[in-house]
């Protein structure tokens, strides 16, 4: 059987565009959502802006410096690594810049530039690129960077400048404690929570407290978190379950012994819970795929956070809790497969 030249006497291909037709051929589908990886990363950055602005307002120019150094060094580290290893450049996907911003949000505003650069190195090179780059890292890169610094440079990482209005910043800023730090000290020294939680809860809600530059305002972080949920970047499952678990467990202990344990609202607004629950634990790469998996993951994060806060050596446990639960993600994923359509039950 010979091949038929598909042509028609009445239809001259040379006259039409047929002769010079050059088209793409690929598998279906042929249309695609505009919501790509850089778009997602941009949305998260937008959502972090209120929290970052509150940090800049209360900590001034040093906070801007930390953010700038972190973002620039993370992007530079990634570019340098990819240049050295000859792998494709991925800094345009926005993930390195986002890691830099998240790292900065998790650092004290007084962190010296070299500390920030070391944190960026650990986050981008050790936690991300060594594992194969975006999508392949088991642990949240920004948190790995932060925890590395916390363990290696405990003094620099727990020197908290006092919050002041941006317009009254002094050159020799005084330092103080974070609300959770004050709580831990009180329990350590007096065996009771003392005066720490009696502070005006509006201060940590709005951000007028000591802490990492991006964690101080529960309100600003909540705004960003609601934006992420509204934009369908994240679902409610991780933040609501995480925060809920912390509130429920700390609430139980507070009801049993209000002198020995701070109230759950204090635990909600103080420390890094809001930043962790909305922005760190929800990192797509290092959290479970299904909604059931996300709930299990978030309950784990909440329990570990409370255990560290109430009985651990560190005043704050959000970073450790998320990193520990990151390790369980593959296990959670394989245990929470979605219900297959038409599965023989």
């Amino acid at each position: 059987m010979k091949n038929v030249p598909a042509s028609n006497p009445a239809h001259d291909p040379a006259k039409g565009q047929t002769a010079k037709l050059s088209v793409y051929v690929s598998s279906s589908p042929h249309v695609h959502t505009p919501e790509d990886v850089p778009w997602i990363m941009r949305q998260v950055v937008y959502a972090l802006i209120p929290g970052a602005l509150v940090g800049v307002y209360f900590f001034g120019i040093p906070a801007i410096k930390v953010i700038a150094v972190a973002v620039a060094s993370c992007v530079a580290m990634e570019a340098l690594w990819q240049k050295l290893t000859g792998s494709p450049l991925t800094i345009n996907d926005g993930s390195a810049a986002l890691t830099g911003l998240l790292l900065a949000m998790n650092l004290p505003s007084g962190a010296p530039w070299w500390l920030v650069v070391i944190g960026s190195f650990v986050a981008i090179i050790i936690a991300k690129q060594i594992f194969g780059g975006i999508g392949n890292n088991p642990f949240n890169p920004a948190l790995v960077g932060r925890v590395f610094l916390l363990i290696s440079f405990p003094v620099a990482m727990t020197t908290w400048p006092e919050p002041r209005s941006f317009f009254t910043q002094a050159a020799d800023a005084t330092t103080g404690a974070t609300p959770l730090g004050a709580l831990k000290t009180a329990i350590f020294e007096h065996g009771t929570i003392g005066a720490a939680p009696e502070m005006n809860l509006m201060d940590p809600f709005l951000g007028n407290v000591g802490g990492s530059l991006g964690e101080i305002s529960a309100l600003a972080l909540l705004l960003g978190g609601v934006y992420l949920i509204a934009r369908k970047i994240i679902t409610w499952h991780i933040p609501v379950t995480y925060v809920g678990t912390v509130v429920v467990i700390t609430g139980i202990f507070w009801l049993i012994n209000p002198d020995g344990y701070a109230n759950p609202v204090f635990h909600l607004v103080a420390g890094g819970l809001m930043l962790g629950a909305f922005f760190m634990a929800t990192d797509m790469v290092t959290s479970p795929i299904t909604n059931t998996g996300k709930i299990i993951f978030a309950v784990g994060c909440g329990v570990i956070t409370v255990v560290i806060r109430l009985w651990g050596g560190y005043p704050e446990g959000v970073s450790f809790a998320i990193l520990i639960m990151n390790a369980f993600v593959p296990l959670i994923n394989s245990a929470t497969k979605p219900a297959k359509f038409g599965a023989v039950r």
Partner: protein, 439 residues
């Protein structure tokens, strides 16, 4: 409103062509009738070069039950029987070339007049098979096979699929608006064959005019159901699930849950075959997309070259992709020198900015594909296995349940070609099982 779990909402893009009434594509001078236009056993040409044929004359003989013949789209002479590119498989396939004589004369006795409601079930099935009718939504499974389920599979539900959930396409929509009687009468014939006293015509809610008209025209035993607008609402298993809550079991067929689904256009063709003996030689096709100058809904003979059809619609305009079918499941073509087939519901021409040709990157485990998958699978895992060709592991991860609807790939922010990987893995799995059977 009724629907299924999962799915996506790609832009509908139907306004390009949905209000354009069906126009008849003029008679062409040469037709290319592919012998295999159905899913199933092959058929064998029974004409030779030089033979005179007339419109509606049988050109091939089906080899087996799951097979149908093709027919001459017009009167003329068989120029040759050769091979040409098959738009679905991409392989060279047998093709009967017919030079039209311009008279467009029907074969003897066609079209005829008879009352399908006085015919027996066997007579009706025979009429449908010999008219070469296949599923016209694109799957092209022989209709007479679908309408003859085995005795141990009792059928209680007959659904006419007018969902047309693929973006851009409006051929079923136009048919429902312009010829609702043909669809409804064909539905009655199918009900008679299946021994049912009711049927449901399912239409996505974005076609309110069609829903209104069908409700006006439909007899009491045919119910018109509006469905939520969501892709892939018209996929057989999802459609059955939306209307009956039943799930076609994994690896099973609709008849396993007592259901039969036929496309609206197929029902119209069933009527023509049973009442008039007219074989499937023409169909309604949407020629659309911004890559074609004047999008049109055309009534076109099977075997017409796509190049001619596109020229009829004003020619190409910055065309980057030519697709048989819709943008979600259609097949990209590399040439215009291929014929319209029985299953060609649309010819879609996309410009570069309407389609997606960027490179893909690593999976970021966002879970959007899992949310979108109407089959409850984890497409991200299949795509990662696809990159490595690990088909055995993929089969363990429900590879064979994938219906390739494209929802996962549409939403993937890393732009991963998940459907492509699935097709590749399925091919590897098929090749391996063929090899083990041969050994």
């Amino acid at each position: 409103m009724k629907t299924f779990k999962g799915g996506v909402h790609p832009p509908e893009e139907k306004k390009l062509v949905k209000d354009n009434p069906i126009v008849s594509f003029p008679l062409s001078s040469r037709y290319y009738v592919l012998v295999q236009q159905h899913l199933g056993a092959p058929a064998k040409p029974i004409v030779s070069a030089g033979d005179e044929v007339r419109k509606g004359q049988v050109l091939s003989e089906p080899l087996g039950f799951v097979s149908v013949p093709v027919h001459a789209p017009t009167s003329g002479k068989v120029k040759e029987i050769g091979r040409m590119v098959h738009p679905v498989t991409g392989l060279l396939a047998p093709c009967i070339v017919i030079d039209a004589d311009g008279k467009d004369e029907w074969a003897d006795g066609l079209p005829l007049e008879r009352d399908p409601f006085s015919m027996s079930r066997e007579e009706l099935l025979n009429a449908i098979k010999s008219a070469g009718i296949v599923g016209m939504g694109g799957a092209t499974f022989p209709t007479h096979v679908k309408l003859s389920p085995p005795k141990d599979k009792p059928i209680d539900t007959f659904i006419v699929n007018g969902a047309e959930c693929e973006p851009y396409l409006s051929s079923d929509h136009r048919l429902m608006l312009e010829q609702p009687e043909r669809i409804l009468k064909g539905t009655r014939v199918a009900m008679r064959i299946l021994g049912l006293d009711r049927a449901t015509v399912a239409v996505e809610a974005n076609k309110p005019d069609a829903i209104r008209l069908l409700r006006e025209k439909a007899p009491a035993d045919i119910q018109i159901e509006a469905l939520k607008v969501k892709y892939p609402q018209g996929a057989e298993k999802q459609l059955i699930n939306a209307l009956t809550k039943r799930e076609v079991p994994s690896g099973g067929l609709p008849m396993d849950v007592g259901a039969v689904v036929q496309n609206a256009g197929t029902c119209a063709a069933v009527w023509d075959a049973c009442a008039h003996g007219i074989p499937l030689i023409e169909r309604i096709t949407s020629v659309t997309g911004r890559g074609v100058v004047q999008p049109k809904n055309i009534r076109v003979r099977v075997g017409t070259l796509v190049g001619e059809v596109i020229e009829f619609c004003g020619g190409l305009n910055e065309a980057a992709k030519i697709i048989f079918g819709g943008p979600m499941m259609g097949i990209a073509q590399f040439t215009q020198e291929i014929p319209i087939m029985k299953g060609t519901s649309g010819v879609l021409v996309l410009r570069e900015e309407d389609t997606n040709i960027t490179l893909y990157s690593a999976c970021i485990s966002c879970g959007r594909c899992v949310e979108a998958c109407p089959m409850g699978l984890i497409p991200s895992v299949l795509s990662k296995l696809g990159e490595k060709g690990m088909w055995e592991k993929a089969v363990e991860n429900d590879l064979l349940d994938c219906v390739e609807c494209g929802s996962c790939t549409y939403v993937c922010p890393a732009n991963r070609p998940i459907v492509h990987f699935v097709k590749h893995l399925k091919a590897l799995s098929r090749a391996a099982s063929a090899k083990s059977k041969g050994a």
